[in-house]
Symmetry: C2
Subunit: 425 residues, 2 copies
């Protein structure tokens, strides 16, 4: 099944926004084995839109359209879809009632121009939009299946997952159902993951997709079977096998389960807390931890000990220690972690001290060097890393390594060395 993704909107062509909808839709289409061959964007212009619809119908079996369903004058999708294939625009009374109710819930009356959102090409099937004003539609013309969906990402995601994908699955000629999930990993690069998992994937009869969103690496196993239940079971077995093979390299599943969310959940489940003492990461570690709702349940707080005086004044790190070993050292990292743990009464203390660049390096202590330490109870351990990335990435991967270390500790796993470890604990 050859697919085209067509997004409509002047703002896209002016470069005002980056089109993440195309990527989302393409990614989702992988799960029904559609081959996305074309991405197209056109202006809110009748001629250009008609041309785009015609080309797409000529070359693709499946066309996902996003955008142009709003109430303004520039929103033309339904009208142009109808015009392109000589269909009438028909008002759907139920949609109109839903729209009026939608506005009433906010104590408002529907504006006149919203009425166009209840018009659909004759013969199309309406796709409900429970979280926005614009329903979508499905229309089959000349052997091509069109789906028109909103441009608002949140509404698009829901309509794609709840309305479009199930219809596409139901229509598969081969009667197969696909189930996929996202496994989130940290510590191994994409090509290594590929090698590690090739055999497992073959044995389990699933295909694997890979995606990198630094510093994460995602693996997407896809299982096909004759029914949803079988596909889900096959997928689960495959995930179990992958997790058996990769061990704690897999830290989470799905789009939402960030490393900080996983760490928060693990701490919360055990009634444990964490405090942080950050130097080069400057607050990023605390920011990540607190980005998770409910963090006050497991985060005691922390210190941004950016200047050496802050390490001394806020954490009581002996000035002598800094003078002797340097701020970027295992003894100082350990002192920071121990101190913040005690002072904030947390179960875990985590510290970072390093050189994120671009300046500040030396031959002995190059840019990229960083020490992370984790204190738990009376014990404390520091590890040395050399992350060869620019400043923002260095800070990102340092916080990732710190969070991962805490996660592994909570799971009773070895704090494995991400591949950038150059030193010893």
């Amino acid at each position: 099944m050859k697919a085209e993704v067509l997004t409509i909107g002047d703002e896209l062509l002016r470069g005002e926004i980056v089109d993440s909808n195309k990527s989302f839709l393409s990614d989702r289409l992988l799960t029904i084995d559609a081959e996305v061959r074309w991405h197209t964007s056109v202006l809110d212009d009748p001629e250009d839109m008609v041309d785009a619809f015609r080309r797409a119908a000529a070359r693709a079996d499946l066309v996902l359209v996003s955008g142009g369903l709003g109430p303004t004058r520039d929103d033309l999708t339904m009208a142009i879809l109808a015009e392109t294939w000589d269909r009438k625009l028909v008002r759907d009374e139920e949609t109109l009632r839903n729209l009026e109710a939608f506005f009433a819930r906010f104590g408002r009356t529907m504006a006149a121009n919203n009425a166009k959102q209840a018009l659909f090409p004759e013969g199309s099937e309406i796709l409900p939009n429970p979280i926005g004003t614009a329903p979508g539609c499905m229309l089959e013309v000349e052997g091509t299946l069109f789906f028109c969906m909103p441009g608002v990402p949140r509404e698009l995601y829901q309509m794609m997952d709840e309305q479009v994908l199930p219809r596409l699955e139901a229509r598969r000629g081969d009667g197969l159902v696909t189930r996929a999930t996202l496994l989130r990993t940290f510590g191994l690069g994409e090509s290594n993951l590929d090698e590690e998992l090739r055999e497992v994937a073959d044995e389990e009869g699933v295909s694997l997709g890979f995606r990198t969103a630094f510093p994460d690496n995602y693996v997407r196993p896809m299982a096909r079977a004759a029914s949803a239940e079988e596909a889900e079971a096959k997928l689960q077995r495959a995930c179990d096998a992958i997790e058996m093979k990769l061990g704690p390299l897999v830290y989470g599943r799905g789009e939402e389960e960030t490393l900080e969310a996983v760490v928060g959940r693990l701490l919360d489940e055990r009634g444990k807390t964490v405090a942080v003492a950050e130097s080069c990461t400057g607050g990023l570690l605390g920011e990540r931890i607190t980005s998770v709702p409910g963090a006050s349940g497991w985060f005691r707080g922390g210190v941004m000990a950016y200047a050496n005086e802050a390490k001394v004044d806020l954490l009581g790190v002996p000035a002598q220690l800094i003078a002797e070993h340097g701020a970027v050292s295992a003894p100082v990292a350990e002192a920071m972690a121990r101190s913040v743990r005690e002072r904030l009464g947390a179960d875990f203390g985590v510290s970072t001290t390093g050189i994120s660049g671009p300046t500040g390096g030396s031959e002995e202590k190059p840019v990229g060097l960083v020490f992370i330490a984790v204190a738990e109870g009376d014990a404390c351990q520091a590890r040395e890393f050399l992350f060869p990335f620019d400043r923002p990435r260095h800070r990102a991967v340092t916080t990732q390594a710190a969070l991962d270390w805490v996660r592994r500790s909570l799971l009773g796993e070895e704090p494995t060395a991400p591949r950038y470890v150059r030193g010893r604990s």
Copy 2:
């Protein structure tokens, strides 16, 4: 001039990456008055690429192509461009020498497959790429101008700005030159900015583009004239007039000058320092400040006083004060700001304490409420805000308001109320 932006690469069609190159190129094309009518992406597939090149040549006057210039088997752009119009692929000896020198600089020899990067369609003009291995090319065929550029963003940006745009400007039939710049603002929404600036833009004879990247709002003035010097002078006058009208709502210029970079520069110029005490923002303020290289020159450090005990233990905020007014209050915000300033010996102390949501609100103190305080010397002032955004956006705009307050203080400006202020100082 009708333009098409064509990006090539399987990873785009699989949704593995979001295509920011298209937005960048479209945005840049605004400055030469090209009307971008089509965005297209196709696979690394010869047939699809030939078809895309042909369609683009038929409908557009200008085609910007990105991707497919690498050394691997999937990199086909030059070959396909040549094939589509029956051109030979010709080796450029100078490019080959440059490639060999490029690898030699890293102590490596050029791999065999890099040699294809020195092949160009006969009759094309080579565009140098000083920061990567793949030069681009310009080719005029059938009245359409093609530019082929790398897919690597950094290399694309440089080639577009240094090679492509100057050539396009030189070719303008009307002899006009365009100069544009980006003015960065915070505190006023897009439609308000539009209203405020309409008259100024007309008087100065410039056009204005607007873009929102929450919580910033960008204004792009574009000036056209018969020569580069005249256009630049016109643009400068327009910017002066806009900045006169908007006052300190404009905080910076260009792509790189983030609010934290501006604050860092202003502090650095005055030899002043800042320390932060964050509750709801959890480290984000410190992270933003330290994201700027050289921050150790002006950032003393800070405290993530997330739990109330941390406010007491790390900052010495009287428990009594918290019990009496609540953690989210002006008195506590002030105590936090004063304390961190003194303890870290900074010129400025900045604090945040609020309710970022989704839970934690009450009728008296709803989700979205936040107090920001700034201490300088013996003085300290707290302001109350109600930012009606979800958790991540609430934290982002709170840090933005905090940074902006410091900036305005350093400039001797009134700490103006962003439009979300509901309370009093």
